[in-house]
Symmetry: C2
Subunit: 204 residues, 2 copies
DNA sequence: AGGCAAAACGGACTATGGTCCGCTTTCTAT
DNA sequence: ATAGAAAGCGGACCATAGTCCGTTTTGCCT
C-alpha cells in the first residue's frame, strides 16, 4: 500500500529532509546561545556557530546563505512574537483602539524593538528575510491604519515616510551620536504623525 | 634667522608630513581609478588600492582607519561639490528662491545624489566622515529652511523625519525591491513636506 | 529488503579585511 | 650640516567570511 502522502505537495517547497531540519534547529539554537554568552552579535563567528551546533561550516551556508541570512533568521524569531502582539494583543497596540491611537502606539513599540535589536538588525543587513518578512509586515500595517484614519493621498508612500525615522540607522544616529533623549524622539514622531494626518481629518 | 612658521600652529592638528600627504593623494586617486575601472565599489579591495598607489597596506589603514573610512573619504570629495551648489549655486537649490521651494529642490537633489552614490554610501557605512560631515551639513540646512518657512515645533526632529525617507536604505528598498518609480517617490516626498509644513503656515 | 538518485554534509581551501612591528623618512633644533 | 626624535612606512601575519567537491545520509520505489 502506498498509504500517506497522497497529495504530491505542489512543488516549490520540496519537503525538508529530516537531517536538514534537525541541523537548522541546532544552528539557530547555537547561534542564540552564542549571542547571549558573548552579550552581543559581534564575536559570533560562523565557525563557532558551526562548531557549537556540531556541524561543518558548509552546512551553515547551505541553510542560511550567508552571515546576514543567519542573523535575519535569528531576528525573525523575535519579530514573530512582536507581530502577534500587533495583530492580536491588547489595545492600543493591538486591535480595539481607534486607528490614530493604534498608529502612535505602533510607532513607540517599533522604536523600542528596533533599538533593542539594533546590532542584530544591522548584522542582518538588507538580507532577504528581513527585507521581506519584517519590512512588508510593518509597511502593510501602517498602510492599513492610515487608510482607517481616512488619509487621502499616496498611502504606501506616506507609510514609508512615517516608518523611515524609525529605522535603526536613523535612531542610532540620534541616540548614540546626537545624544537626543528617547522621550524627545518619541514626541517628535507623534508630532510628525499628527501633521501628516491632520491635513485630511480636518478638511474632508 | 628662523624665518617662516612663527605661529606654533596650535596643536591638535600636528601638521601632515609631506610623504603622508603625497600618499593620501595617491591612495584616493588609486581608489577612484579602481572604482571607475571596475564600474563599482565592490571588487575594490584594500590590497588592490595599496598596490595601485604603490604603497603597503599598512599605509592605507594608517591614513583611512578602515575600508569604510576610505570609502567615506572618497564620498566626501563628490559631496563637497554638491554642498557648494546648495550653499551658493543657482536657485531654487541655491539661495534666492523662497524657502519652501528651496526645500523641495533640496529633497529632489539629495534623492538623486544618494541614488547615484548608493553603493559608495553603503560601503562607507556609519564611518566617521560621513556621519559627521555629510549628515550634519544636510541636517543643518533643512533645519535652517524649516525655520525660514516658519515651522513651529521641534525643528531638529522634524528635519530628521524629512531626511529619513531620503536615506539610501529606504530609497533602495523602494526602487530596487518594491519597484516604485522615482517620480512617485518624489511626489510623495513633496506631499510629505507640504503636510508637515502646512500646519504652521495656515494657522499662525 | 535493497538499490538508487537527490539532497545534505563537512572540512580543506580561498579571498579579503585588519593588525603588528622593525625599518626608513622627514622635520626641527642646534 | 647634522643628529635625534617623532612620524610614517610596508609587508608578513592573523581572523573570519564564503566556496568547492568528494563522501555520506535519506527517503522513495520496486
Amino acid at each position: 500500500m502506498d498509504g500517506l502522502r497522497v497529495l504530491p505537495l505542489l512543488d516549490g517547497e520540496p519537503v525538508e529532509r529530516s537531517d536538514a531540519a534537525r541541523n537548522r534547529e541546532a544552528l539557530l539554537a547555537a547561534a542564540e546561545e552564542l549571542v547571549h554568552e558573548r552579550c552581543g552579535v559581534h564575536g559570533v563567528t560562523m565557525d563557532k556557530v558551526a562548531a557549537r551546533a556540531g556541524v561543518g561550516k558548509g552546512t551553515v551556508y547551505r541553510r542560511f546563505e550567508s552571515r546576514e541570512g543567519l542573523m535575519a533568521a535569528l531576528l525573525n524569531r523575535s519579530e514573530t512574537a512582536w507581530q502577534q502582539s500587533v495583530l492580536s494583543g491588547p489595545p492600543p497596540l493591538g486591535p480595539g483602539a481607534p486607528p490614530l491611537e493604534r498608529l502612535l502606539a505602533f510607532g513607540h513599540s517599533r522604536m523600542e524593538t528596533n533599538l533593542l535589536h539594533g546590532d542584530l538588525i544591522q548584522a542582518a543587513g538588507q538580507s532577504g528575510a528581513r527585507a521581506y518578512a519584517a519590512v512588508s509586515f510593518v509597511a502593510m500595517h501602517v498602510r492599513y491604519l492610515l487608510t482607517e484614519i481616512g488619509v487621502r493621498g499616496d498611502v504606501p508612500i506616506l507609510a514609508t515616510a512615517l516608518l523611515a525615522p524609525l529605522e535603526i540607522v536613523i535612531l542610532q544616529q540620534q541616540t548614540h551620536i546626537e545624544q537626543v533623549p528617547l522621550e524627545r524622539i518619541r514626541r517628535g514622531w507623534d508630532d510628525l504623525v499628527r501633521r501628516v494626518v491632520s491635513v485630511d481629518v480636518v478638511a474632508p
